[in-house]
Structures are given as structure tokens and as C-alpha cells.
């Protein structure tokens, strides 16, 4: 990946993070969980997936299922930046006259399926991947799960079935931010060694830094990792990435900040990057 491309994606991810921070007030949202996968979603939608606002109905398009529904502010931020939805719609967050709330739903163009209850979309994605294979389509089906979500038994059912089906057009992406909701994963239900677990279940595995665009490109560009196995990409990430004051904190999963706190967080966000703050940036919704 060229350095220009990396800079472009970084700038895009910064704007997505601004949206996440702005949504973290007036009822709040899952800020920490969303910030951990902002880079991943930006890379996938801006640079990898064959999904665009103009081609949502195209037969050969890819599918991305967000099983980790708490990440929806990152998804909506990405959608706003890439033209899937108007920015104004984010002002309707948690308003009953729109459908922008704490979990994804299909009434928003670009959202493939509703989620919230964990461990569901791996199986829904499996069905879509089976259908695409039956149709002889070459498109990809990707499901993003959280690492805490891997506690759910239904995920491992699907992991077994996808391997049995030799479903090479199916990819699971684990946003490995090392936290469940309130507790570090390794303190509650340890997951390591995670890669070898998937390997033992018959999957082809790569593990990368989920905030490094070059590594994301190298891993996703190598899909499918095997012609007769499903692939899993474990993205090591940091909860709250971009805001050192909340990074890797168990209590910054869900946040409901005051308007003043949001302004401070937007300043903090920009202090991490060589960027210029504008008055528009500091406007809280």
C-alpha cells in the first residue's frame, strides 16, 4: 500500500472516529467497541469490498455482516463518509422517527442484516455464502464478530459447519480488542491461543494488527487463504483506539458523555494526528 493511500485511509478513519465521538452523547453509544474496529471498516468499505451505494443490488457484490452490533456507530460513520447515507441522519440517533440506534438494522441502506444478540450473523452469513456458491458467484461473504462474542456456542456451531462445507468464500473477522463487555477476555473466558483454535477447527488463519492498513491490505488481499477452507482474520485491536484517555479501559465500552466532554474528546482525537481542528469539527451534533 502506498503511503498516500495510507494517509487517505487514516484521514477517513479520523473522520469516522469524529462521528463516533459525536454519537457518544445524548444517550450515548458503544464508543470503545466502535473505535476498535473503525480502521477495519474504513479499509473494507473504502478499499476492499465490492460494495458501494450505487451497487447494492448488483449480483456480484460482496456482503459484510456486522455480527458485533455495538460497532454500528463506526459503520454509520463510514457510511456517511462514503455516501451511503446523508450526514444529517446521524442527528436522528436514538430518535423514534428514524432507525438509527445502538444496533444495526436493515432499514438503513447498506446494512445487510439486523444484529444485537451475539452469535447470530456467523450462521446468517454462512447461509448467504452457501447461496453464493450455489449460484456460482465469486463474491465474498465476510462476518465481523467481537472477541467476547466468541463465548457464544452458536459461533462454534457455525465454525464447524463452515469447515465441513469447505466454504472458501466465507470469511470471519474477529475484532480482537481483548475485552468482553465489562471484563478483559483473558480474565473471564480466555480465548488464547485463538489462531490455533480456528486452525484445529479446520480454518485457514491469519492474525494481524487491525489498525495497520498495510497489514489489513495484505491479509484481505490474500483471501481466500485456502481453496477448501473458510478463512478467519484475527485483527488485534485496541478498545477506544484514537482516544488515549479511554483506550483499553473496561469501563469505556458504552459511553454517554456531556457535550463539553465530547468537545474535549474531539480535541484529543485530533491531537493524536497532525491535523487542523476546525470549528465545524468541534460542533457536537
Amino acid at each position: 500500500m502506498t503511503s498516500e493511500k495510507q494517509d487517505e485511509l487514516k484521514a477517513l478513519a479520523l473522520r469516522v472516529r469524529e462521528h463516533i465521538v459525536r454519537l457518544s452523547t445524548d444517550g450515548g453509544c458503544f464508543t470503545g467497541a466502535s473505535l476498535s474496529c473503525a480502521d477495519l471498516l474504513v479499509y473494507l468499505y473504502a478499499d476492499f469490498l465490492n460494495i458501494s451505494p450505487q451497487t447494492l443490488d448488483a449480483p456480484d457484490r460482496d456482503f459484510l455482516f456486522l455480527s458485533k452490533g455495538h460497532d454500528v456507530p463506526a459503520l454509520y460513520g463510514t457510511f456517511v463518509e462514503l455516501g451511503f447515507m446523508p450526514k444529517e441522519r446521524l442527528a436522528n440517533h436514538l430518535k423514534a422517527n428514524d432507525s438509527i440506534y445502538w444496533h444495526p438494522n436493515r432499514s438503513v441502506p447498506g446494512v445487510e442484516f439486523h444484529s444485537g444478540s451475539l452469535g447470530h450473523l456467523p450462521s446468517v452469513g454462512l447461509g448467504v455464502a452457501l447461496d453464493n456458491r450455489m449460484r456460482g458467484l465469486k463474491n465474498r461473504t465476510i462476518v465481523i464478530t467481537g472477541d467476547g462474542e466468541l463465548n457464544e456456542g452458536s459461533v462454534w456451531e457455525t465454525v464447524l459447519v463452515a469447515a465441513a462445507q469447505k466454504l472458501s468464500n466465507f470469511t470471519l473477522v474477529v475484532d480482537r480488542n481483548h475485552f468482553q463487555a465489562n471484563v478483559a477476555t483473558e480474565d473471564l473466558i480466555p480465548l488464547e491461543p485463538l489462531g490455533p483454535k480456528f486452525e484445529a477447527f479446520g480454518w485457514a488463519v491469519q492474525r494481524i494488527d487491525g489498525h495497520d492498513f498495510a497489514q489489513l491490505e495484505a491479509a484481505f488481499g490474500a483471501l481466500p487463504f485456502s481453496d477448501d477452507k473458510p478463512s478467519v482474520i484475527i485483527c488485534d485491536t485496541v478498545r477506544g483506539r484514537g482516544l488515549p484517555s479511554i483506550e483499553a479501559r473496561a469501563d469505556r465500552w458504552f459511553c454517554n458523555f456531556s457535550a463539553d466532554e465530547v468537545v474535549e474528546l474531539l480535541k484529543e482525537l485530533h491531537s493524536q494526528e497532525a491535523t487542523t481542528l476546525t470549528s465545524e469539527t468541534l460542533t457536537v451534533r
Binding site: H120, S123, L130
Partner: protein
Amino acid sequence: MAYEDLIRETALADDRLIVMTAENRALIRNLPAVLGPRFIDTGITEQTLIGAAAGLALRGRIPVVHALATFLTLRAFEFIRTDVGIGQLPVKISSFVPGFLSDGNGPTHQAIEDVALMRGIPGMTVFAPADEADMLGMLPQIWASPSPAYVRINTRPGTYQHAPFEMGKAEVVATGTDATILVYGMLFEQALIARELLEAQGKSVGLVNMRTLKPVDEAALLQVVRAGGLVVTLEDHFQTGGLYSILAEVLLKNELTAKVLPIALNEKWYKPGLLSEVLEYEGFTGQHIARRIAEKLGADPAAITTKTEVVENQFAE
């Protein structure tokens, strides 16, 4: 024609139809060779079975899923409610050995709350055929409908010549002034016997094969209630949440009251055994049913003649 013949012919004529199972192949053994990739066995994974069916339906397919009624409705309940229900996807759930049909399996396998659970999901349709012929008459319409559907699979042979199936309509077998039996599923054959025994005692007894439990045929229920007489709800289901509850809801909604005799499983699982043993022990043979109705009507239950009943036992895989 058998269930397998019907689903094979339908699938061969319509490539949207996908046959799926969580390793319950009793009724669809010969389909893998015919349907190839359109036969999907996910193994013993009811949750993944339903989730994958939702994914396939999202792509325009009509998945017909097969597994034991208890495990589908209980273990995969949230997947049915959340993936299929919220998604309003046309997943067709074929539930094996519901109600008394799991005979000797024991309480773990007794789907006797399935109607209550499935009808509680917005948009879900619920069907309970009286016998195999009744079921085969229903399924083409159920599979062609855009709604998610739950079907209590019943392959028992019947003797009654059923009227053509109409979605959401009950089959009025007979009308009566003393009592009317409302029934669904495999107990229909016992209801026929009970009616015959009561008629032999000079009672006028109606009989309605409900067929569709959701959307329920409210007009048929109201007609029965307005005709007067005792209304009997007969079901191999917990008393809570099934036909008795449906009738109660319809009565209250229409500000009506009626004399009702619920014959159901009240706060208990049934004693496992061969089907004939179960019906006898639990009091669900035609004769037991007739006696309970006679007693409620103030007649002498002992006067009900004994009828030799042959209940063919069910082998449940």
C-alpha cells in the same frame, strides 16, 4: 404421495426451495441424491440451521428446515424469533414429532409448548394438520406464501376425506348443539371417535379441525360459540398458550363468554410410552375424551360405550 414426494416435486419445479436439516433425515432420506447442493445438512446444530436458513432466505431462497420440534422451537427459539421473525423471512419450519408424536422419547423431546412459542412471534404462521393427507393439502400453499411458517409435521394416515385447505380457515367437519370439539393435529382421529361415541348417546356434537392456529379462523370460533353448547378445546399441548388460550383471547376480544372444557396437558409433561399407551394413560383416547365431555354435559360418563380403538404406534427417530 408422501411428504418426501411432495417436497421433491416442489423443489425440482422451483429452484428457490432449499431442503435443510440438522441431521434429522427420517422423512427426506432420498433427497440428497436428487437435490445435490440444495440439500443442506448442518449436522446437530439447530441454531446454525435456522441462522443459515435466514441467510438463504435473505438471498431469495425458500428454505424448508427439518428437525425435532422441541429442539427447533426451544434451542433455536431466539434464532427463529430474531433472524427469521424480525427479518420476516420465508423460512418454513417442518417440526418432527410434535406433541404426543414423540411418544416414548420422554419429556426432553415433548414439544408441547411449541404452538405458544411460535404464535408469539409477530408475522409467524402456525399450522397443525390432522393427518398426512391434511398436511399434504396444506404444504404447497404454506411453501408458496411469503410468510415464515411453522408446521407440526404429522405423517399419520387418516381416514377422513378432508375439504380443500384454505389458508387461515378451519375445516368444519360437523356442527352440533350440545357440544363442539375444536381440535388440531394428531388428536383429530380421537376427536372423530369421541364424537361418534357421544352421538351414539343422542348428543349433538360438532367437530372443527382448526388446521391453522395463526392466523386463527376467528369467524369459525365465533360461529361455534354463538351456536351455544359446550366448547371443547382438545390439544396435545400445554393448556397455556395453545388453542384454549387462543379461544379465550378471541372470546375476550369479542366481549363474549362460553362454557369451555379444555382438554390439554395442564402444568405437566406426559408419561412416555408407546403412543397408544400415552393416549390411554393421559386420558386422550376417543373414549376418555367422550366421557369427559359427557360428564361436563351432566350425562353419565359410564354410559359411553366401549369402542375398540386401534391406535397405530409411532416410531420416532
